[in-house]
Symmetry: C2
Subunit: 313 residues, 2 copies
Amino acid sequence: MKIAVDAMGGDFAPDAIVEGVMMAAAELPENVAIVLIGKQSVIQELTQKHGIHTVANIELVHADDVIEMDEHPTKALSQKPNSSIGVGFKLLKEGQVQAFCSAGNTGAMHVGALFSIKAIHGVLRPCIAGLVPQLAGGYAVMLDIGANADCKPEVLAQFGEIGSVYAQYTFGISQPRVALMNIGTEDQKGSLVAQAAHQLLKEVYKINFIGNIEGGDLFTGVADVIVTDGFTGNTMFKLGESFYSVAKQRGLSDEFLDKTNYESIGGSPILGVNGNVIIAHGISSPLAIKNMIGLAIRQVESDAYTKIAQALA
Amino acid sequence: MKIAVDAMGGDFAPDAIVEGVMMAAAELPENVAIVLIGKQSVIQELTQKHGIHTVANIELVHADDVIEMDEHPTKALSQKPNSSIGVGFKLLKEGQVQAFCSAGNTGAMHVGALFSIKAIHGVLRPCIAGLVPQLAGGYAVMLDIGANADCKPEVLAQFGEIGSVYAQYTFGISQPRVALMNIGTEDQKGSLVAQAAHQLLKEVYKINFIGNIEGGDLFTGVADVIVTDGFTGNTMFKLGESFYSVAKQRGLSDEFLDKTNYESIGGSPILGVNGNVIIAHGISSPLAIKNMIGLAIRQVESDAYTKIAQALA
C-alpha cells in the first residue's frame, strides 16, 4: 500500500508536512509506504536534514510546480498539471498509490479528484466528510462539511447513503444510525431543503434513518452519520473543532476535548469519488499530517469507495 | 416598570416559572414589578406555597387558557385569546407591562408578537437573537437563531442593522463590529444567499461590517454582532450551548463554560417588533427564568426597540 502525500500544500509546508511524514513513517505497518510529492529544489534540504533517503518506507517523487492556496482551483489544475496536487492525482488514477493526501488548496483537491478519478457513477455530488468524536467513544461522520454550500434535497438524501456505507466499513458500525441535522425534532421542522430531505431520507430503505437531531447533539452519540448541507456542516464542524482551543485558553485539559482538536483526526475524506482522497486544514501541524496518513491507511484497508460504488449501483 | 411572565409555558411550568419569579423578586430593583400570568386554579397552590401574595413586587393576573407546546401557533392564538400567552401580549400592547417573557410555545410567542405589537415599520422579518458569551468577556448578539429558517439576502443585511442597534444600546458597545457567519473569509465564499448578503452588508453605511467569520470564531471576540440565517443560527447556537453540558459530563468546571449554559442568559429576545419580548427554552429551570427576567429589565432600560425603529425609519 502506498499513501501519497503533498509536500507543498499547507501554510507550514513543506516543513510541517515532512516532519509529519517522518513521524508517520516511524510507525507504519510493514506493507505501507509513503510517497512524498514535492518540488525537489524546495524539499531537498529538508529531506536531507531528516535523512529521508535512509528511510525505507518513504519514496520521493518530484513535482515541478505548486498550486498556491489562493489560486482558482480549475485554472490552477489545468495550467499546472505538474504541480504536487496534479502529480498526486495522476499517481492515484494510475493506481500507483492507493490514497492521496494534502493540506493544500481544498478547491483544487476537490476539482482534481473530480477530473482524475472522477465521481462514482450515480453520485450526485461528492462531498467532504468530517469525523466528529463522540462522548461515549468512537466517531460520527458528518457530511457535507464544505464542498457543497447549497444542496438539493436529493443530494442530502444521498449523503445519508454514502455516509452510512463509509461508517459501516471504515468504523465497523453495523446499521449506522443516520440523522438529519435540523432545528427541531418534528418532521416538518427546518428550512425548505431540510424538510424535503427529511422526507426523502425516510424513503431510503437501505439506511437506518433515525430522524432529525439538533445542534446540541453533535457529540452526544445519538447518531453515527450526520447529514447536512456544506454550509451548515462547515460552520458546525469548525465550531466543534474550536472546543479544544476554547478549553485550552481556559487552561482545561481533557481527553475528550483533545479529540475535538483538528490535529487529532488529521484530515477529512472526500467521499463519492473513485479513490481515497483526504484533505487537511491549511494550518496542519506535523501531528495532524501524521494522523491524516493514519486515516488514509484505514480508509484504504476498508475499501470504502468500492463499497460506496456498489451500494449506489 | 412591569415585566410580565407566562406562568404556564415550558416543560416544567408552572413550578419552575414560579420559583424563578420568586428568585428574581428577591433581587428586583425598587421600581420593577413582575406580573405573573397563569391559570388561577393551576397556580393557586404554588402561589400560596411561595407566599406570593405577601411579596410586594409580584402581581397575579388570571388567564383562562393555556397554549400547549405542540399546538399550531396561529390556530392556538386565535382560538385561545385568553391563554397566558394571549393575555401577556394584550397587556404588552396596552402598555400595562413593558416586557413579556415566556418559556412556552416559541412559534406562538413569535406569531403573538406579530399579531399584537406588530413588526416595526420597515422590518422585513423579526427574528430571535441569541446572546453568545465571549472569551474575553461580554456577549455577542447572533441573529437569527431560529425564527426564519430560510432568509433572503436583504433580510440578512437588515439583521446586521437590527443587531448593531441592539448591541449598541443594550450592551453599550459603540460601533459594534458586525460579521457574517460564513464558510471562508474571502468575499466570494459561501452559499448563494451568504454571498449576496455579504455584498449587501458592505453597502449598509450605518454599520461597521467587518466581513465574514467562520464557525470557530463564535466565542473568540472578533465580532459583536453575528449575522446568519435562522437554520445555521439555531444549529450553531445549540451546539455552543452544549459546550456547558459536554464539559459537565467530562467533570470540568469553568467560569466561561458556565456562561455557555443556557440557564445563565435565561432567554433570547425577539427583535424587530414594537416591544420587548423574550423567549426561553422549554426546559427552562428556575435559574433560567430568573435570568430571563434580568435580561428583560435590561432591555426595557435600553429601550432597544425604539432605537431600532428610529434606525430603520
